[in-house]
Amino acid sequence: MTTIAEDVRQPLADALVSVGASVYAVAPEALIAPACAIMPGSPYLESTLIGKDKVRVKINLIITGAVAYNANSGALDNLEKLMIDILGAMPNGYEVGDVSRPGVTTVGTGNFLTADLSVATYYTQEI
């Protein structure tokens, strides 16, 4: 049986490895910057297709890019480069949306400058 973890999030994480950052297929407990993490969007799963012989859903995901937040100008420059690299590494089959305004996020004891990229794809549950 297919799963979203194995057939959507992990392949997306594998595609993002080329950006040269730590890539997390789920929200990480600890972060090594620069990093990108694949998080659920909202709504997360949408039923948009007809028929119910199989479960088919649109999956909305957020790719959060994070860089070390030491100096404003350097951090923003690094984050912009990271988000552009992520956009360039997006595989086929994804709707690629907007990048949100950057903000400072604290994970563990570290501060990171982060921004979110909205993406979406479709998934069919195969038995």
Partner: protein, 131 residues
């Protein structure tokens, strides 16, 4: 009588025996009826002279995919434009509409960054039958 609700998830359909559930987001069969009205000495009289069915489909484009439905429609419309395609539309279990449509070519292309979609409005060439 309890309330019955059926939804778009209950809908399935085939065109020329191809199943569209994996791509279609909407499928609606509409039959327009032409009714003539006559003013008689006894009041208005109504007479149905014609019906015309339209089958509207919204779907995600799948150009280039193996067994592409968009390409099947395109090939049918360009290769055999006068050959009607059989359609079977299930609104819910036990409610199946059968009819034929004239083939048409799907649109191609889309707007960034959304998924490419195709809107089709087929003209029914036979009167839909409920079986």
């Amino acid at each position: 009588m309890p309330t019955t609700i059926i939804t778009g998830r209950d809908v399935t359909f085939t065109i020329d025996s191809d199943q569209y559930s994996s791509q279609a987001t909407s499928a609606i069969l509409t039959v327009d009826t032409t009714i003539n009205t006559y003013q008689t000495l006894a009041g208005k009289a109504y007479y149905t002279t014609d019906t015309q069915g339209t089958f509207a489909v919204e779907m995600l484009a799948d150009w280039g995919a193996g067994s592409s439905l968009c390409e099947a429609l395109w090939i049918a419309a360009t290769g055999s434009p006068q050959t009607a395609l059989p359609v079977s539309l299930t609104a819910d279990t036990g409610a199946v509409f059968t009819f034929s449509v004239q083939p048409i070519q799907p649109s191609a292309g889309g707007t960034a960054p959304d998924a490419q979609t195709v809107s089709l409005s087929f003209t029914c060439v036979t009167t839909p039958a409920l079986t």
